[in-house]
C-alpha cells in the first residue's frame, strides 16, 4: 500500500524534469543560443569596434530615428489608444462592434501588407493627394498602424471592470466631468495605459516589414534600425549588424523591465 502513495509524487517529479528538459532544449536551440550568439558576435572585435559600429553615421542616424519615432508613436498611442478604449467601453453607437473587432487587424495583418496598404493610400498615387512615401512621416504612420491595438487592449479590460458608482458619487458631490476623469478614472487607468505604451514602444523599435516599402529606406533620412541591420547583413557585415541588434535588444529589455515594474506597481495599488 505504501508503494501506491509514494509513486504518484515521484512520478510527477520525474515528469517535471523530463518536460522541463525538453522545453529548455527547445527554447535554447531556437531562441536563447541564437540570441546569445548575436550578443557574443557584437563583442567579437572588442568594445572599440562595437562602439564604432553603433556610431557610424548611418547606424547612429537609424538608431536615433527609430527611438525618436517610436517614442512619438508610443505617446500618440497613449492618448488615442485610451480614447478608443473609452469609446469602446462607455459609448454606444451603431458600428461599435465592428470597431471593436477591427482594432486587432494590425496583429493579424502581415507587416509587408500593412506597408503596402499604407503606400496605396498615402503614397505617390494617393487618391487623397497626400504623399508620405520616403518621408519620416511615412515611417511614423507605419509604426502607428502596427502598434494600434496595444494601448486599446490593455486599457479596455480595466475600464470594463471599473465601477461607475465612484464616478456618480463624484458627480453628485459637484465634480465637473473633467475633474471626475482626472481624480477618479485616470488614477485607475494609468498602470494599464503605461504598460500598453511600453508594449507599443518595444514593438515600434523592432519594426521592419511595414516600414520597408513606405520609407524607401533612405540612409540618414528614413532608414530605421531594423532596416539598417538588414542592409548590413546583406553586405556581409554581421559583426556590425550584431552590434546594432544588441543595442535594440538592450533598449527592448529596459522597456520590458520598466513594464514589469509598472505592472507590479499597478497590481499593488489594485
Amino acid at each position: 500500500m505504501t508503494a501506491i502513495t509514494v509513486r504518484p509524487s515521484s512520478r510527477v517529479a520525474g515528469g517535471t524534469a523530463a518536460g522541463l528538459g525538453t522545453a529548455v532544449l527547445y527554447l535554447s536551440l531556437i531562441v536563447l543560443i541564437p540570441l546569445a550568439a548575436v550578443v557574443w558576435r557584437s563583442a567579437d572585435e572588442g568594445p572599440g569596434y562595437f562602439w564604432r559600429s553603433v556610431t557610424t553615421p548611418d547606424a547612429w542616424a537609424a538608431l536615433t530615428l527609430t527611438v525618436g519615432a517610436s517614442a512619438l508613436v508610443a505617446l500618440v498611442n497613449l492618448v488615442v489608444g485610451t480614447v478608443i478604449a473609452w469609446v469602446l467601453v462607455r459609448d454606444r453607437f451603431p458600428g461599435r462592434g465592428v470597431l471593436d473587432t477591427i482594432i486587432d487587424l494590425p496583429f493579424a495583418l502581415p507587416t509587408i501588407v500593412a506597408g503596402l496598404v499604407l503606400l496605396a493610400l498615402y503614397g505617390p498615387q494617393s487618391p487623397l493627394g497626400v504623399n508620405l512615401a520616403y518621408s519620416r512621416a511615412g515611417v511614423v504612420l507605419a509604426l502607428l498602424f502596427v502598434t494600434l491595438p496595444f494601448v486599446v487592449r490593455t486599457v479596455q479590460p480595466v475600464l470594463l471592470e471599473l465601477d461607475t458608482e465612484m464616478e456618480q458619487a463624484a458627480a453628485s458631490l459637484g465634480a465637473s466631468p473633467f475633474q471626475t476623469f482626472r481624480r477618479v478614472i485616470l488614477p485607475n487607468l494609468i498602470p494599464a495605459m503605461l504598460s500598453g505604451t511600453a508594449l507599443a514602444f518595444t514593438r515600434a523599435i523592432a519594426e521592419f516589414g511595414s516600414t520597408v516599402l513606405i520609407s524607401g529606406n533612405l540612409p540618414f533620412k528614413t532608414q530605421v534600425a531594423a532596416v539598417n541591420i538588414f542592409s548590413q547583413i546583406e553586405g556581409d557585415n554581421t559583426t556590425g549588424a550584431a552590434a546594432i541588434s544588441t543595442v535594440l535588444l538592450v533598449v527592448a529589455l529596459v522597456a520590458l523591465i520598466t513594464l514589469d515594474v509598472l505592472q507590479r506597481w499597478g497590481s499593488r495599488r489594485g
Partner: protein
Amino acid sequence: MAKHVLRVVAVVYVLFLLVLPVGLIIWRTFGDGLGPFTEALTSPSALHAFKVTLTVAGWAVLANTVFGVGAALLLVRHEFPGKRLLGAFIDLPMAVSPVVVGLALILVYGRFSPFGGLLESWGIQVIFSTPGMVLATVFVSLPLVVRAVVPVLEELGDEQEQAAHTLGASRLQTFVRITLPGIRWALGYGVVLCLARSLGEYGAVAVVSGRLVDQTQTLTLFVEERFQNFDQPAAFAAATALALIAVVTLLLTKLLRPKDRIDGN
C-alpha cells in the same frame, strides 16, 4: 458634447489609419473583377510561394502547438525553481526584431558557424532553405499558444485531473479525456493566432531564406518582390489574399476567445 468629440476622434483615427488603406487595396484588386485576381495568384511563382508558405507555416504551427501545450502544463501544473525565468524566456521572442531573429539564426546555423558547418557536412542545409525558415517562423510565433492556454489551465484547476488519476487513469488518458477537452477552445485560439503569425511573417524569413524566387519565396516575400519589380497587380492580389486570411483569422479568434477570459485576464 465631449462624448461625441471622443467618438469622432476614435472613428476617424481608425478609419484613416486602418479601414481606408485596407479597403483601398481590396477595391483596387477587385476593381476589374475576379479575373485578374485569380490570374495573378495562379501564376507558377505565386503558386510556388503559396506552397512554401503553407509548408513552413504548417511545420511551425505543429512545433509550437506541441511545445505550447507542454510548456503551459509545465508552467501551471508543476513546481520547479526558475519558473518565472522560463516564463520570461518564452515571452522573449515578442520583444525581438524579426531582422535580429534572422541574424541570430544565421550566426548559429549558417554555413560559416561551427554548428551550421557540422550540419552542412551531414547534408543538412538550414539557412537559405526550408529548415531555417521554419526555425525563424517558430521563433517569432513561439509564445502565442503558451499564452493562450496558460490562463485557461489556471482557471480549470487540477481537481478533475486528480480525480481521474485516483480512479486509475494513466497520464495520457487523463490528458486526452480531461485536460484537452477543457482547453480546446483556448488551444484553438492559440493555434489560429500562431497560424496567422506564421503565414504573415516577413522580416525573419526575409533574412534566413535568401529570398530566392521560386525556391524559398513565401507569399509575403512575393508581395515585396513583385512590388519592387513594378508588378502592382500581382503584389496587390497577393496582399489582398493575405489580408483576407487576416480578416478570417480575426473573426475566428473572436469566436474562439472565451468571454470570461477578458475579465479573468
